[in-house]
Symmetry: C7
Subunit: 104 residues, 7 copies
């Protein structure tokens, strides 16, 4: 999806949505040799950029999101809403679609 936004920082996710950016795979090997583009696999790791205030539970309370900006997460293979800001691609997931947090 296209936007005319100047910065991704202007995006404030609604409800339980989480804005992430996919981690780019290294384009060279451990030994420093550059890989041809077709050998670079897309990773399912992403960095959380912004989180919504949480969806509403049945009792009207907000359900706190499971992650925070700065967290690294495992994202599912499919799903999410892709957003393009300038030349960069981002994705909006719902909180429960994220698979795991990555502790480094």
């Amino acid at each position: 999806m296209s936007t005319a936004l100047k910065s991704v920082r202007s995006i404030a996710p609604l409800l339980d949505r989480i804005l992430v950016q996919r981690v780019k795979a290294e384009a060279k090997t451990a030994g420093g040799i550059f890989l041809p583009e077709t050998a670079v696999k897309e990773l399912n790791e992403a960095k959380v950029l912004a989180v919504g205030p949480g969806a509403f539970a049945k009792d009207g309370q907000r359900i706190k999101p499971s992650v925070q900006p700065g967290d690294k997460v495992l994202i599912p293979q499919y799903g999410g809403s892709p957003i393009k800001v300038g030349e960069e691609e981002y994705t909006l997931f719902r909180d429960h679609e994220l698979l795991a947090k990555i502790n480094e």
Copy 2:
């Protein structure tokens, strides 16, 4: 969908519906050169024109919409009910379908 309305301001969304108008993409480049029509991408940004009173939660209370008239929002690629008033196009989404608020 067609209407014979004179003004979009006469539309008062029901329940959790949100009336938005898509932001039009610039038809010229930063340098001032006009783009051919096929190069103008449709943006997924929209301006909120009117919001419904909110859907009912299980306890009978209204769930307050997440956005207000004047807000700029990211809208999903698909979905929503298109409405035509005069020559202008508008869309009605349900509150939870909106992806994010855009802070400028």
Copy 3:
């Protein structure tokens, strides 16, 4: 759907159903020139003729319909149960299917 009713006024919608009649598009231009039938677009505006008592919420209370007889509403492109009384066509929607109220 066919009926042998003499008047649409004998129809009392049940639960959350709303009986509406679609607004007919003007068959002539602002300048008074009659349009050929194929140029007359079907409008998504309708007038509310009768409303049901409301569906039951989980606590056993009726959920009051969002509209009243006499209201003008935006109706969705698809859905609803068409009813024919004499030569006139009407439609029964469920309350939550109506998109917006039209304030004139």
Copy 4:
């Protein structure tokens, strides 16, 4: 569906089911001329013959049916369970499938 019942009066609908019989369309015009069988449209009006005690709400209370024996109702175009008793056809609907009551 076939039965060997002697009378439709022996059918006591369960839960929220409503037993109705479709109103037969007049086979002659207002002027008294008999219509060929293919010109007689099936009507979506029916007479309520028997109602169940109501389905159970979440709190264990029965939800009272919206209609009573003797009521005339608008029935949906599709759905319902057809029952044949002798040469007559009847239909069982669930209460919420009935569209409207017809007040005469």
Copy 5:
């Protein structure tokens, strides 16, 4: 489905299941003439042989089944789990699938 049971009386339905046996259609006319097998219609009437203790409602209470052993019921055209005991066929329905009780 096949069983090696000696008697259908050993089947105790679980939760909201109801064990019924379809009423067999008369293979001869009122006048005593035997009908060819293809002229004998399968009836949608059945006799209740055993009922389960009822499914659990949300509050943990059992929902009492709508019918009792010995009741005659109208069964739906499709659905149910067929069970064969010896040469006889039986069917297990869920309580809410039964259409009506037949009072004789």
Copy 6:
């Protein structure tokens, strides 16, 4: 599904799952004549080997399973997760999928 388990007794079903083993049909007639393999019908009877602690109800309480180890049950024609331990086949059903208890 394959396992490298030494004994089926090491399987402890989770939540509302029930471990059963299908009753094998007699491969000879009452008179003692052995049936060809194709004439031996698969039975829908099974013996309960182990039961899970029960699924959680909405109030956080466990729902007690309907059957106990040692019970004989009627199982549905389709569904369940097949498990192979050594040369024997077992099946895991959810408690509500079991049709009836067989009292002998």
Copy 7:
């Protein structure tokens, strides 16, 4: 799904997700003869490596996962999200998808 993670220990499952690693089938027979690769069946046994904090129940409390790290479990034939860390494959299941615990 690909990752650039150095260790599977950095994965902390979210909500009710459970990280497991499938048990590898013995590639040789009990007698010590190596099996050709095509004769090695994939097992449905797995070891639990990490568990999420649990999904939220309707009352806002976390539902405690049914298993703990170190447990051996039966996993379903299909489903789960596969994750690759280095040359090893792992899978993330939701707690309720696990079939049984294996007690050794």
